[in-house]
């Protein structure tokens, strides 16, 4: 904190109603002086002011002068006869408005205007006009806000102005340079909840401002009273659930967990302006770091980031005050208990050394582009950090989502790259964000299944682990509706991403179980719950796949994706150490077994081989540990597996297909003209392997004129097997070696 700023602070509380005090005239004097000296960039408070660029100097000069005069007018102007001076006022307002929407206003300008707007010197129409054009060039100083709040106490402005002010605060929250002093006024804001008209906006503001230490029993009581008075309003609900999140013990009432959107974004008057500010802030920035671990990512200027990206750039307020000085050593940082600005964070080592005093950026979204900060977020225990990130993500996703702005959906590219960045961050953290899940709830029903398909489906694959049946109506039912009416390519990509989802859940669960094992013994109940959820997911995919294959007339292409999914499923017990074995539905098994594609058959053999390994491992553990686990290893699973196995061996090896279970009347085969149906599905005659058998015969016995397939038996059969294996049918090899006793060569 610079000495001058400190002086400012000490004055702030004393300031009540007069505006011609020393600080403000200081400011203006400074501004004028600077204007005269015509300096191009000012970094007095670490921010660049509105005025820059000498390129279109003349026009700028004029505009700047006009702004100067307007500012002076607002600052101390002749208000004695305000209504006579209507013309002048109008002119000055226009000037300010133009500059604000074009370039934004400097922190000093905002300071002056806030003062004017809330001091009630003009009518409420003028006040609201002023408030509407208060768009920061880059940042807003905290002190201006504190001062403005003090005006609210003076009771000089009417209700609508107050409402507009709170809306402005909410919209600009990210651009306020620091929030400590504002947080000190928490009690005041909280008291404003009494006002019925203000309540929704104050709630939203408090939602952004609340920290854990602000949650007090008396506030909780007050909120609950309000809720009784006003009914279950979404904004009160939001604040209550935030309180509950911070201090669960204080609030015993149950709140619905999954709530979509608490606050309406459509009320944001400054939307377009905010985008401009964000872009402006980006322009001043260094290159964002690539998502990578280690010092390799420090080389600057290597990569050109999309300049119109929606993600703000790292900036912490204290930057370039004390710590900006070059030549300060690391030990200096360590000794001081002052926060370490994130812009200077360049290496993992630095992160480790400063982890206790890291000051997070004023705009939380900036962390998405910074791998080091993602590390920090990953390990920090402070929930409010994640909460801020989630809140920012929620807002941005909703505001930028293409199908909510039908009019100008050209920004589709921007949105796509934004989603890409989120997904990259999720991959990096190996963890899904809850705000993305909430976004999916809201937007999946409206999705056309085409635009941003890759990104959307990837978001699905990063849904954090939850109870499947709980999210099913929101996500998976909508997905099913799209799935069944879309093209085969869409179906394949859905299956691919559901495989990813399964893998993410399994990884998360296997980690979670190891951690829980150490901590508590209540594992049993939660584990069976989680296993149930995974089981339901697999079951759902099985249902999707069976029906998709029917709709797409048993397409081999689709079947590949289905079997890919089951390649994950069959190895859950061994690979993830989770007590779950789920077999595929018959609709998939028989399709694969009777497929004309050798790679499908090969994949099926591999999956059966892995199932066998998993089931035997499970059985062995059961015998060793002497505990019958209540999980999915019912005898039914084994029976089902054995049934499949018999069918496969009967078809491929012993030439006795479908002896048990499904029985076919031999008359049927006679009718359709397959006399020797028994052998027609064995390794030689199987439609998928027939071509192998023929080329085997042609290769080994080149002189033969006719090809006699039934001659492959005995020794020749073994040779044929070796030939098949050498052709790359490794799955078949594993299956035969593990499941078939070799003495039984026919």
């Amino acid at each position: 904190m610079s000495p001058q700023k400190r002086v400012k602070n000490s004055q702030t509380p004393k300031r009540t109603s007069r505006h011609s005090n020393s600080y403000q005239s200081n400011l203006l004097a400074w501004k004028l002086k600077e204007n005269l000296s015509n300096s191009k960039s000012i970094s007095k408070h670490g921010q660049n002011s509105t005025v820059e660029d000498s390129e279109h100097a003349d026009a700028d000069e004029l505009a700047r002068d006009a702004l100067q005069i307007a500012m002076r007018y607002f600052d101390k102007g002749p208000f004695n006869t305000p209504w006579n001076k209507d013309k002048t006022l109008e002119k000055h307002l226009k000037t300010v408005e133009n500059v604000a929407w074009k370039n934004g206003l400097a922190p000093e300008g905002i300071d002056i205007l806030l003062n004017v707007a809330l001091s009630g010197k003009f009518g409420s129409a003028v006040n609201s006009q002023i408030l509407r054009c208060m768009i920061p060039a880059t940042l807003i100083s905290e002190d201006s806000v504190v001062k403005a709040v003090s005006w609210l106490c003076a009771g000089k402005c009417c209700g609508s102005t107050k409402i507009l002010f709170y809306r402005w605060l909410v919209a600009m929250f990210d651009f306020i340079d620091r929030k400590e002093k504002i947080n000190l006024l928490y009690g005041f804001f909280f008291a404003s909840l009494q006002d019925d008209a203000l309540c929704p906006y104050v709630c939203h503001f408090l939602y952004l401002l609340t920290k854990k230490e602000n949650v007090k029993p008396f506030r909780v009581r007050k909120l609950l009273d309000l809720q009784v008075k006003m009914g279950m309003q979404p904004y009160l609900h939001a604040l209550l659930s935030l309180y509950k999140f911070f201090v669960p013990t204080l609030i015993s009432i149950s709140l619905p967990i999954k709530k979509k959107i608490y606050f309406k974004n459509s009320e944001n008057l400054w939307k377009t302006a905010l985008v401009a500010v964000r872009q402006r802030n980006q322009g001043l920035s260094p290159e964002p770091l690539k998502l990578m671990l280690g010092p390799a990512n420090v080389r600057p200027g290597k990569r050109k980031w999309n300049s119109h990206s929606l993600i703000p750039v790292l900036s912490s307020s204290s930057h370039s005050k004390e710590y900006g000085k070059e030549g300060m050593s690391l030990s200096d940082y360590l000794c001081s208990n002052t926060p370490f600005p994130v812009e200077q964070l360049k290496s993992f080592l630095q992160l480790l050394q400063n982890i206790h005093c890291l000051e997070l950026p004023s705009q939380m979204g900036a962390v998405l582009n910074n791998s080091l900060l993602l590390h920090y977020i990953n390990c920090v225990r402070d929930e409010s950090v994640l909460l801020r990130l989630y809140h920012w993500l929620n807002q941005t996703l909703q505001e930028e989502c293409i199908w909510y702005k039908v009019n100008n959906y050209e920004c589709g590219k921007e949105f796509t790259s934004f989603l890409d960045t989120i997904i990259k961050a999720e991959c990096f953290l190996q963890e899904g964000f809850y705000s993305c899940e909430a976004f999916l709830y809201k937007s999946l029903p409206l999705w056309d299944g085409f635009c941003c398909r890759t990104q959307f489906l990837q978001l699905v694959s990063w849904i954090p682990f939850t109870s499947f049946s709980e999210v099913k109506p929101f996500i998976f039912d909508c997905l099913a509706q799209l799935f069944f009416t879309s093209t085969i390519y869409f179906k394949c990509s859905v299956l691919e991403n559901l495989k990813e989802l399964l893998q993410n859940w399994l990884l998360w669960l296997s980690m979670d179980i190891h951690m829980k094992n150490v901590m508590d013994n209540s594992l049993e109940t939660t584990l069976s719950g989680s296993m149930k959820s995974v089981f339901e997911l697999i079951h759902y995919v099985g249902w999707l796949s069976t029906n998709a294959l029917r709709l797409e007339s048993n397409s081999t292409f689709l079947l590949h994706f289905v079997l890919d999914f089951y390649e994950k499923v069959c190895d859950i017990y061994i690979n993830y150490n989770l007590p779950l074995v789920v077999l595929f539905p018959p609709g998939i098994f028989y399709l694969a077994l009777l497929s004309v594609d050798s790679s499908i058959l090969n994949q099926l053999c591999y999956i059966m081989h892995r199932y066998r390994n998993n089931l035997t491992a499970a059985k062995k553990n059961e015998l060793v540990l002497k505990i019958k686990s209540e999980f999915i290893f019912s005898s039914k699973t084994y029976q089902e597996y054995n049934h499949y196995l018999t069918a496969m061996v009967g078809c491929l090896w012993t030439s006795k297909p479908f002896q048990k279970g499904s029985y076919f009347d031999p008359e049927v085969f006679k009718k359709i003209g397959v006399a020797k149906y028994k052998t027609s599905l064995n390794l030689v005659h199987h439609p998928a392997l027939l071509s192998y058998a023929i080329s085997f015969l042609l290769k080994e016995w080149t002189e033969e004129r006719t090809v006699n397939l039934s001659s492959i038996r005995g020794k020749k059969w073994n040779g044929y097997l070796d030939y098949l294996f050498s052709e790359g049918l490794q799955g078949l090899k594993h299956f035969i070696q593990s499941s078939i006793c070799h003495s039984s060569v026919p």
Binding site: W403, V406, Q481, S486, T487, T546
Partner: protein, 180 residues
């Protein structure tokens, strides 16, 4: 002025006919154009109507799928659809009716709540699709989906019936654990 029945006429050879009902003439026309541009093995026919009942003195092919288009920005459009639904035979609701809500993207313009349409679709046990028909790319992908539905409803996808597809699309009907 008769009630529309699915089995009134014999199906035409390799023909699939869809009837789009809604007050938004221009949008329906565009949607129909997009559908006809789709590459499809069946012979596609698209009929448009402002409302039901259809005039009875015209010969028309058998209708395989009726899609009611509701514009969420206009209460009248919803009323019109509700009126028209009375002139549809119950047998149609075995998978040959769909609802399409347009305009959901612009929340602020909506005068009909999404849940109202959702309830309507649930009451008639029919699928509800959302799509902003004003946007070209969305309309094209919706046309694609409708064509696929139509092919099933016309019986051109072997092994799958309209009722079957309906049961797959219905969100309330969950697959039971033993159902496979």
């Amino acid at each position: 002025m008769a009630v529309l029945r699915p089995q009134d006429q014999l199906p035409g050879l390799n023909t699939a006919t869809i009837l789009l009902v809604g007050t938004e003439d221009a949008l329906l026309q565009q949607l129909a154009d997009s559908m006809l541009k789709e590459d499809c093995a069946s012979d596609l026919k698209v009929h448009l109507a402002q409302s039901l009942p259809l005039p009875s003195n015209v010969t028309r092919p058998r209708i395989d799928l009726i899609v009611f288009v509701v514009n969420l920005h206009s209460k009248y459009s919803l009323q019109n659809v509700e009126e028209s639904l009375r002139h549809v035979d119950a047998a149609f609701f075995l998978g040959k009716v769909g609802f399409l809500a347009t305009g959901a993207g612009r929340d602020s313009h909506c005068s009909v709540h999404r849940n109202t349409v959702l309830r309507l679709a649930q009451a008639y046990r029919s699928p509800l699709l959302f799509c902003d028909l004003e946007v070209d790319s969305f309309r094209v992908s919706m046309a694609q989906r409708l064509v696929r539905m139509l092919q099933v409803c016309a019986g051109h996808v072997p092994g799958v019936s309209a009722l079957n597809l309906l049961s797959l699309m219905g969100s309330s009907e969950n697959p039971s654990a033993e159902g496979l």
